[in-house]
Symmetry: C3
Subunit: 160 residues, 3 copies
């Protein structure tokens, strides 16, 4: 964790580069400093069929849901969520300016008692020869957790 899943109306393909959108969200999630880098997964799902408000075809939406591990207090989650939302919202200013559009972001907490994971990306990151300024910690800890257990650890922030 965390997971960020975006659902969007197919008509946004003409107004947005969705590859950039997921990258904007990924970077904003990293910047919060509360997530383990190797656990961040952002994706987008194109919805070919949709119906919005009074059914007008030119309306658009982008709806993001974030799923987090348990263990962070509300203030921390709100601050992180606000940063991610504001970053995404600012990026979408031209879409709001160009038409009628609805953006949303809802955050949920996964039940830590029924959560399983296996992840070798953490070790992949620590093995990379990249210099990570201002980060002395090793990201490889917790590289493979299977079975329910402690949730996301505070991760480190990369500057790239």
């Amino acid at each position: 964790m965390p997971h960020f899943t975006i659902e969007y109306s197919a008509n946004l393909d003409a107004r947005l580069d969705m590859g950039e959108v997921v990258e904007i969200v990924r970077k904003a999630a990293v910047e919060t400093g509360i997530f383990p880098l190797g656990g961040i997964r952002v994706r987008a799902l194109r919805c070919e069929h949709y119906a919005i408000a009074d059914g007008a075809a030119d309306f658009g939406f982008l709806a993001m849901v974030g799923r987090l591990g348990a263990g962070r207090d509300l203030a921390t989650r709100r601050k992180a969520g606000e940063h991610i939302f504001n970053t995404l919202s600012a990026y979408l200013d031209p879409v709001f300016a160009g038409g009628k559009f609805a953006l949303s972001f809802d955050m949920h907490i996964n039940d830590k008692e029924t959560s399983w994971k296996r992840n070798n990306i953490h070790e992949g990151l620590s093995a990379r020869p990249t210099v990570i300024p201002g980060c002395g910690e090793d990201a490889s800890r917790g590289s493979r957790d299977s079975g329910p257990g402690p949730s996301d650890h505070p991760g480190m922030t990369r500057t790239n």
Copy 2:
């Protein structure tokens, strides 16, 4: 809010017009009278790969999840959900008659403390020159809420 996301087995494409399905759900949601018109977003996701029951390829499913803002009591949510489900279910009678099929609808409430939105569709609706019979209220209030706050306001029902 509200959000309605449909996931369906790809084999339904031969039996259903999914553009009609999302429109059926949208109209039923409007008819409940408990949602702000500009917040209604229905979409469908086609699942190319699926495995149902004993694995028979001719089985099909349509699974809808609704995500609502907090603040409505259970009786209100049940009544609204029942109307939407019954409308969709009746529309799908021919699919049930023509094969083995599973329909489901589950409703969830988003955490109002970690919910962010920005929406200019409300103002778009109030600016439209369309006559809305039996509705004297202005839908433009709450046209842009960013940051957690009060959830869906009761909206108005259009007759079209």
Copy 3:
């Protein structure tokens, strides 16, 4: 119920047969013995756009969410979830060996008060002439539940 939805990074298409993956999960769900056969629905959604960890394009993920009906205790859910996760994880060993990859499985419980369903697959199963070794129960009970009510019944396990 139950529902299992998989979201996966599009780059897995070159490494995995997703039709096999949903079948692996379906069989593992049947093997738990706690789900009604006719209620099991597994599907996968391909995510064309994604951003993982530090953004490296060769990272991959497969994230599964299971939605269950209410009524089973935690120990039962954990045991079932662990079986499904371990089966899927073992199947994905080659993917872990071949690259950097994150697998996750989170289980949620649907609110039984706002859950509606209609399903004629149960009766379809009982009408099939297939011999089901070691299973004397009729799967047709509960073949159509509409409206909120009791959740998944313990089902029977087929050996195929």
